[in-house]
Amino acid sequence: MAQIRYQHVGKRFGAVQALEDLNLVVADREFVTLVGPSGCGKSTTLNLTAGLEDPSRGEIYIDGQLVNAVPPGKRDIAMVFQSYALYPHKTVRENIGFGLKVRKMARAEIESRVQQAAQSLEIDHLLDRKPRQLSGGQRQRVALGRAITRNPKAFLLDEPLSNLDAKLRIQMRAELKLLFARVEGTVLYVTHDQAEAMTLSDRVVVMHHGQVQQVGPPLEVYNQPRNLFVAGFLGSPNMNFLDCHLHVQDGMWQVQGEDMPEGALTLTEADLEAMDLLAHRDRLHGSAILGIRPEDIAFSPRSEADATDSHLPCQVIVVEPMGSMNILVVAVGRQRLMISTGPDQDIRAGERGWLTFNRAKLHFFHGETELNLRA
């Protein structure tokens, strides 16, 4: 296993800058996920690492060795493709062992490695079948088997679960985590599914427009998004955003906006402390964007909210019962917010009430730069 290091790596396709100045170190045995919307440069990064594309500039090191000029087959890296890319004319056994055969490994050694991989993926009973005789999940396992038999320096996985149905995807997600913990692999994983990014990774790299937006452990990125994009991309349902205006009055910070009447949200120094914003209090003025996650908003019917000091009047528009929770879509003025509540709270569409924010979990983003004011 090995470390992968990117130094000022960029890739340009004609007029399109697919990747801009990537600087990243994937540690030995680390599971790093590149996440972002399509066209954000994550697959390009993977292809550059594999050697399927050449970087326009910068250097890529695997295990300390500069690999820019090393052909893909010599980089000792395994890749799992979104489409599985199995060889349709070869059996499962031949598919898994093909990379070893190309490397001229002894036949007995190939067979033992294939058996080992097949057993660990529970596909040892399918070894003599052709890919067309397998289900989607089984093909996925064969593709993984092909990667792990080689004992490569690193694994590159390009949206490996996105062709599976929702149920199987969740099951395979857990198995992937177990598998790569067992083989102690350095893994670079690409997905646009933030749930995969959150659950699988040691660190996530959020990308957008060819640029790295934030790198960090999943919960850190989730709880302390560096900018508006990261905040909006991670989390389901999405983080809510409200345009607002900040000003200080009597030592308190007033958050107001078109849809937030005066006094709806007032922050004290203690609140700022909880938000980790006290050191940056001078930034809290002028136009900003308030961000709050659905689980950090509480809805209460009119009668109970009289006493609270910070609250927003709202009306419930849609109730989506998910079983384990309810998702409410509420109207605050002309804005729509999403709230997740407990499944037992009996709320009907059309009901009016009050929203209370968990003030320690508020995020403020700069109105123009969209950077988190805490950053």
């Binding site: 399927l52 489409s83 004319h89 490397r103 397998l134």
Partner: protein, 284 residues
């Protein structure tokens, strides 16, 4: 109710028309074959009577025995087979390699287009226009009346066809499979032989059938570049036609016999014509 009945009767009429058209096409396609086979079994006098005998009531094997008694006919048959098989093999191999590189090597769209048209040019002008230069070149190379002369010629003429056809098949193969093979450490040649060619077998089968038929039936260059040693069957057939006689019976008998190897070759390659061979490789 009346409207519904009209609709049904219209449908019936439509179906009837469809059958008629199908029958007409079938007759147009099958009649020449029928005519060829029946003529092969006709007495000489029956082949030239007017009106022609559509349904012969008597037949003979005389034409066949006459044809088989022609001097060196076995050798001419072997010539045809050898030249057709070798030029098919060469054409398909070289053409596939060219098509593969065209499908994999990155080049600007326009450049590829120019190359593709350039390749096609060989087939654009009528073969007769290059006949004299070919004749002179082959004679200059001391290759007149050799198998090599015809093999080279036929391969050259089938290459553009093979390249164009195979390029289509290669471009249809999923790119990810090629990438997977690259990651597995395959060289370009290994990818071509072990991954791409097996997957393109249906395409190769189709291409091979067409090139085989072309070479097997090719007459112009065969008659010009061969005289005795490398003479092929189409040239023999032409020999039954002169200003003094027209031997319909023998011509048809030999032509009917010539169809048989083509049928066998097509039958052998047909099992590769399974569609959807790449099914299961990648999830679309």
């Amino acid at each position: 109710m009346a409207a519904a009945r009209t609709f049904v009767s219209q449908q019936r009429l439509g179906r009837l028309l469809l059958y008629l058209v199908t029958a007409a096409v079938l007759v147009a396609v099958a009649f020449p074959a029928y005519w060829l086979v029946t003529t092969a079994f006709k007495y000489e006098v029956d082949t030239i009577v007017s009106p022609p005998i559509i349904l012969p009531l008597r037949g003979t094997l005389r034409n066949f025995t006459d044809v088989l008694r022609v001097e060196h006919i076995g050798q001419f048959f072997l010539n045809s087979a050898l030249i057709a098989l070798v030029s098919t093999g060469l054409g398909v191999l070289l053409g596939s390699m060219a098509a593969y590189s065209l499908s994999k090597v990155y080049m600007a769209y326009r450049i590829r287009q120019v190359i593709m048209i350039w390749i096609l040019i060989v087939r654009i002008f009528p073969p007769i226009t290059t006949a004299i230069p070919y004749f002179v070149i082959i004679r200059g190379l001391n290759l007149s009346d050799t198998h090599v002369a015809l093999i080279l010629t036929h391969t050259a003429f089938t290459l553009p066809f093979v390249i164009w056809l195979m390029l289509g098949f290669f471009q249809d193969l999923p790119d990810a499979i090629d990438k997977a093979a690259i990651m597995d450490g395959c060289s370009l040649w290994q990818r071509f032989c072990q991954i791409t060619l097996p997957l393109a077998l249906p395409g190769i089968a189709v291409t091979a059938i067409f090139t085989f038929i072309y070479s097997w039936n090719e007459f112009l260059y065969a008659s010009m570049l061969t005289s005795r040693t490398a003479k092929t069957l189409p040239v023999v057939i032409a020999g039954y036609m002169s200003d003094k006689f027209l031997r319909w019976g023998e011509m048809s008998a030999l032509a009917a016999m010539m169809v048989v190897p083509v049928m066998i070759f097509a039958g052998l390659t047909q099992r590769y014509l399974v569609r959807g061979l790449t099914f299961g490789a990648v999830k679309e």
